[in-house]
Amino acid sequence: MQAGLKPLGREKWWVLLLLLPTLVGLAFGAFGSVLATVGLSLFKWDLLTPPQFIGIQNFTDLATDTSFHEALSNTVRFSFTYVPLVIVSSLSVALLLNRKIHFVSFFRVVYFLPVVSSAVSVGLVWLWIYSRDTGLLNYIIVGLGGEPVRWLSEQNALFAVIIVNVWGAVGEGMIIFLAGLQGIPKDYYEAAQVDGATEWHLFRHITLPLITPSIFFQTIISTINAFQAFEYIYILTRRGSSSSSVPTLVYSIYRDGFNFFRMGSASAQALVLAAIIFILTLVYFRLQRRLVFYE
């Protein structure tokens, strides 16, 4: 039996009214859109001429499309560098803040600042910092006796963009990890200290196992964010009006769909993106059973 109140008489209509926006969103916004995307992926359509049914040709074309391969490879390399960096750096900050120190709320604000800031505005500052001849970063490197680096050249841009994305996400991960750390009962540590455990032992055998749920959660969120990253890439790597020095899948969907109006191909790419995220999430949940410790 469900807990709750039963609607009486005409109240049923009120309940329907309260639920209506959600139902509309579910039907059209979510599931309807997915079906429509699947449908569109089977057509060739530029929005001007009538759509033409071509079966799975959009997908087979992607298999041999070198620019799609490049986008896919950039996205995968981006994610597999970005996710570990975000986890390690935000966990480190959280561990430092969790020691009994002063000014915790001040530091929290400082590390959280990039999370609330517009990626476009902040992306422009990073563009200025990374700038080859005049940027702050090269000024510092040259001042220390190094050679100036072309941060946003094709070889380095992916790395440069990852750094900015990590910088922008540390604050959010830090909050999640701090909440996890504060949930660990203090007496665990006290008991272990009585037995003479060192700080490293405390971390390795109490802290780390007990925050695996937070690490698991943050890994999934970061992976999804990594596959959907767009704004910093758009600002930092755009060349001319629509190309990028390190196009990712989302960039490629945006460009093919809304600059070139290849609706079918863009839909097919969006489905590939969704499939990758879905499979990775399944893999994580499989691993969770072995690696995540629940009390």
Binding site: Q2, A3, G4, L5, K6, P7, E11, W14, L18, P21, T22, V24, L26, A30, G32, S33, V34, A36, T37, L40, L47, L97, R99, I101, V110, F112, L113, P114, V115, V116, S117, S118, A119, V120, S121, V122, L124, V125, W126, L127, W128, I129, T134, L136, W167, G171, I175, I176, A179, E199, Q218, Q228, Y234, S241, I253, Y254, G257, F258, A270, A274
Partner: protein, 277 residues
């Protein structure tokens, strides 16, 4: 003696690491502010304090882009988004948390399932529909979806509603209160922290969003939002860093000011969403 010495050393290392990391976090913001107040001719001087300091860049901004209009557009879209999310998510959350009806669990699981659908999968058919309805080139596609609930907001509010004892609603029921009355007079006022967190997320998400306005309003400066305006400025004024930094500063200033006064809601909101998920 040795233990307190060790603790002291570790404390020093902790502060040093946090301050160093903190400088990396705020450095770009300080550089933005510093550049924004420099004369265009001084943009390549690496001194941190602008000498002489000037507001010339800000005055020039208004002649380059209709900044006031862009800001008003961003504010309007973000406010409508926030109202839509608060209203429709709390309505749905109330039904899922309090009302007993058939298919409630199935519907709720279906709603949570939509969390698995990446945003990119829905933008293409949405674009086709809005274009067919003649809404391409208007602000409607930017805020209308917010009036259709959503898994994240509904879940956040529902979890909070579940912490309110059902006895309260049952007692009101005995006194003859209708469901709507119970929703409006009991649940909404008690859920202020969760509503505040959702408001913060919705407003920020909309204010900072680039992709959606880029799709629907890529070049109309009278209609589009700040992020698109800034990215257009990036193309036309590349290399004029003092002006670009002034523009960036103006776009984040309102958010930063609100953040400093209401940081509790921002940070607790994140923690709330993370822990409860």
């Amino acid at each position: 003696m040795t233990i307190s010495n060790r603790k002291f050393t570790l404390d020093i290392i902790t502060y040093a690491a946090l301050i160093l990391g903190g400088l990396v976090m705020v450095g770009p913001f300080l550089w933005m502010i510093s550049t924004a107040f420099k004369l265009p001719a001084d943009q390549f001087t690496r001194t941190f304090i602008p000498n002489p300091a000037t507001t010339e860049n800000f005055e020039q901004l208004w002649t380059i882009l209709p900044f006031g209009t862009l800001m008003w557009n961003s504010f309007k879209v973000a406010s409508l988004t926030t109202i839509g999310q608060l209203l429709t998510c709390s309505m749905g959350a109330f039904v899922f948390a309090v009302v007993r009806f058939r298919f409630r669990e199935v519907l709720f699981i279906a709603l949570l399932g939509t969390l698995m659908i990446p945003y990119q999968v829905t933008i293409i058919p949405n674009f086709v529909i809005y274009k067919a309805l003649g809404l391409y080139g208007t602000q409607v596609p930017l805020w209308l979806p917010a009036f259709m609930g959503g898994a994240f907001g509904t879940f956040l509010i529902r979890q909070y509603f579940l912490t309110i004892p059902l006895d309260l609603a049952e007692a009101a029921r005995v006194d003859g209160a209708s469901l709507i009355r119970i929703f409006w007079s009991i649940y909404l006022p008690l859920a202020k922290p969760a509503l505040a967190a959702l408001a913060v997320f919705s407003f920020l998400g909309s204010w900072n969003n680039l992709l959606t306005p880029l799709i629907y309003l890529p070049s109309d400066l009278q209609q589009t939002t700040l992020p698109v305006g800034l990215s257009l400025m990036q193309q036309q004024y590349s290399g004029k860093w003092t002006i670009m930094m002034a523009g960036s500063l103006i776009s984040i200033a309102p958010i930063i000011v609100v953040f400093f006064f209401a940081q509790r809601f921002f940070i607790e909101g994140i923690a709330l969403s993370g822990v409860k998920k």
